[in-house]
Symmetry: C2
Subunit: 192 residues, 2 copies
């Protein structure tokens, strides 16, 4: 196979991310969101919101991470954040998925993409922390727009949200969390 | 409205791109593709394929252009390349859409995003030409994978494809056109 043959095989295979459904709906609630359009949406979130990070970011790297971050779901599926799943088994599936899917590319690109995904997963660099925080704040934005979405489906309370999600948004994007938190609190207060 | 209020209003509004359907299907033919997931897919095409451009590119700029390039479709709709539409009327609709949608952002970002979209549409810089070529080569890739797709729906012949699409791919990505052309020719030859 030529280099282009390998690259095109990868680009055709990743089309399957469009068929991986998430726990969130579109903002109008009309259907479940898929992981490909979600990846586009949060890349755009990063482009618009990078200025609010605590340290200057390599925005292009954040965007690349976000374009790639869910590809392992093609094999491992999407694990809803408020669902129950075997964390260790999922990690094993995702590692195998990364090897298979990035492995379709020429070696140098496979290694570069894998390094970006590993950096995202490690959640240590400023770019990874911002990307992870953005990835956590897009679902609540969808839920606020649609009137509850996955919060209702998974019986989420304000306390669950503030304990499990808030700190993850706050880590990489405290200014954005400060903006979002009162809106989420008002939503849950309104449900009584 | 605060700066974050404006940015979040924009990010919520662009969710509607997930409901704009294109003339192409997913690679497995299971449903029509939408413009948001298409935008993700070609951003990834650009990341993987930028090395095949004729001159070194600012890949981050290409990716930003592609994340934004279809936003005007939220108001103006997707105009299938082999469909019939009033080119002038569509251009007017797209200009109005750009003003409304980018106008949701703070002024400096509205201007920066508009400049990227204008550069893409002008199709003159190496980045715009490569982005446009990638945007033209993803649908034939989907059609080859699904067994015909929009080529069958729009009664496209090899001659129509090579006359109307080939030159547009060749402009910004001649090496990629050289790879794709024989595959498309073989598809049409096989249909007799
Ligand atoms: Ca397009």
């Amino acid at each position: 196979m030529s280099r282009l043959d390998q690259q095109m095989a990868f680009l055709t295979e990743v089309d399957r991310l469009k068929s991986v459904l998430r726990a969130t709906t579109l903002c109008d609630g009309s259907r479940m969101e898929n992981s490909a359009e979600h990846s586009w949406h949060i890349a755009l979130y990063a482009l618009v919101l990078a200025e609010h990070a605590e340290t200057p970011l390599d925005t292009a790297k954040v965007i690349k991470m976000l374009l790639l971050h869910d590809l392992v779901e093609i094999d491992a599926g999407d694990a809803p954040v408020f669902g129950t799943h075997d964390t260790e088994a999922l990690a094993v599936q995702e590692q195998a998925a990364a090897i298979r899917i990035f492995g379709l590319l020429p070696d140098d690109q496979a290694q570069a993409f894998r390094a970006l995904w590993d950096e995202f997963e490690a959640n240590e660099s400023p770019e990874a922390q911002f990307a992870k925080s953005i990835d956590r704040m897009q679902p609540p934005m969808q839920n606020l727009a649609s009137g509850g979405g996955s919060w209702i489906d998974y019986d989420v309370t304000q306390n669950m949200f503030e304990t499990r999600i808030g700190p993850k948004i706050n880590t990489g994007a405290p200014k954005i969390w400060a903006w979002l938190q009162p809106k989420v609190a008002a939503f849950f207060a309104g449900r009584g």
